[in-house]
Symmetry: C2
Subunit: 282 residues, 2 copies
């Protein structure tokens, strides 16, 4: 099976599912959207995001060569045992969930015959919904692929093809390493941003604080505006790794506080952070 | 004295001083730049950033109606007692320093005759130097003006005129409130960003962590790339307020950690942060 001959069914037509559909247009045989709300199905079809859309995941899965689950993590985990019962033998199940451990466990538990690869494109925006969908969102982004016990070479090749079709760069990674990494580079920054907004609110009782907030505060807190439903399920499914990331961060911020008394050592610490940050993003 | 008749001397032709010069072009009689390095003086004149430039602050100050100090905070503090000796009676001294307490104290100590208003435009970038200067940087930004014992009505009116000439929005604020506010909305975010970069480095020994860092991490850590010389002097001159801001933040991140065990309360906390952040920046 090649992507261009495939019927691709995407469950969830929000930011991720909608963007994937837009990015796949013209690159597969047929695009089918699945959404809970009939209005959203109607909108996605009318706007040409998908060729057709339905509220019936089972029906769509029964006729698909590739089923993509693009809903929040806990919903994906719940969905997997049901959707695979409807899928054809040899069809591929893939997801776009933000944490991988629970999803890979669910995929390992499905009957043989259906293929499954877990996935996580490392891109997003703080706004959600089909309105925010953007086919260019995947361009140049890393797209993690996590093999499961239902991943064959054929499945991985098809998943690679899908990743490359949307302009992303595939990176094969096991669930544990993925979840530890995103705890540090995504979930921890989200908690810092939200804690900073709460701290600013407590400090800002005279409103001057908020009035002075400029681009530095805006960027540092951007993740606090993320979609709560999505992020809550992320935090719930990656707690141990997040707690370790918090430990690591708290040691570093405690060090920063100590260094306020030692300008020479503080300067070195600041230079190290500056050089590393400038090296990461040009 | 009105701005359009004034000779304005700007000491420091980096990001802030250079941007101010560019934004003031055509809005005052003469623009004089002062820089330590002769090459920078030559560059600023050649590129038309200023009408003329010199390494001699005293000489430039002696012929100026407005002297703007646009160097790092500690340098401004050191500079004030010397530069005022050269200034003409009735001339205005203003600064663009990031903390105000020590600068206002220095301005309070100058001989009568010279006028002085402390200032802080709430804008910037993480890159520095004349290369990064941008006349549009002040557009729509808050520009704090802090009265000193050498601030007359005439001085404040002229300072307002300068602020408005560069497209910024003046906000009169005493030094203590200013410094407490910027500790929360600027210096604390800088320390969080730098601590996060250090935490990521410690976590990222297998390099996968860095490979996955995407736009969320990029924005949350942007301030860590700030100019170290400038920020070090900021941290040194606002330590008490920064320590209080750290206390406030640490209470909130500790609360976030506790809430990981309580999804219902966590959801509410996340929604509060989301709503406040979305309300602050549209």
């Amino acid at each position: 099976m090649r992507l261009r001959e495939a019927t691709v069914a995407i469950s969830g037509l929000g930011l991720m599912g909608g963007s994937l559909a837009l990015a796949l247009r013209g690159k597969c045989q047929t695009l089918v959207g699945i959404a809970r709300r009939p209005e959203l199905c109607e909108q996605a079809t009318r706007e040409g995001v998908v060729d057709r859309a339905t509220c019936d995941l089972t029906l769509a899965a029964a006729h698909a060569d590739i089923v993509v689950l693009a809903t929040p993590v806990l919903h994906i985990v719940e969905c997997i045992p049901h959707v695979v019962l409807a899928m054809r033998p040899g069809a591929l199940l893939i997801d776009l969930g933000s944490t991988k451990r629970d999803i890979v466990a669910a995929m390992n538990g499905i009957p043989e015959g259906v293929l499954a690869v877990a996935g996580h494109p490392m891109c997003g925006k703080e706004t959600g919904g089909l309105e925010s969908a953007d086919p260019a969102m995947f361009k140049g982004a890393r797209f993690v692929l996590t093999p499961t016990e239902r991943t064959t070479d054929e499945a991985l090749v098809l998943a690679f093809e899908l990743v490359e079709a949307v302009g992303a760069c595939p990176l094969v990674l096991d669930a544990e390493r993925h979840d530890r990494a995103v705890a540090v580079i995504s979930h921890l920054p989200y908690l810092l941003a939200s804690s900073l907004v709460h701290a600013e609110e407590e400090a800002g009782e005279d409103s001057v604080v908020s009035a002075l907030a400029a681009s530095g505060f805006r960027d540092t807190t951007r993740l606090a505006a993320s979609q709560v439903e999505m992020m809550l399920q992320v935090l719930q499914t990656n707690r141990e790794a997040i707690e370790s990331a918090l430990d690591l961060f708290e040691r570093n911020i405690a060090k920063a506080r100590d260094l306020l008394n030692n300008p020479t050592a503080l300067e070195l610490w600041m230079e190290q952070a500056r050089d590393r940050r400038r090296g990461m993003f040009k």
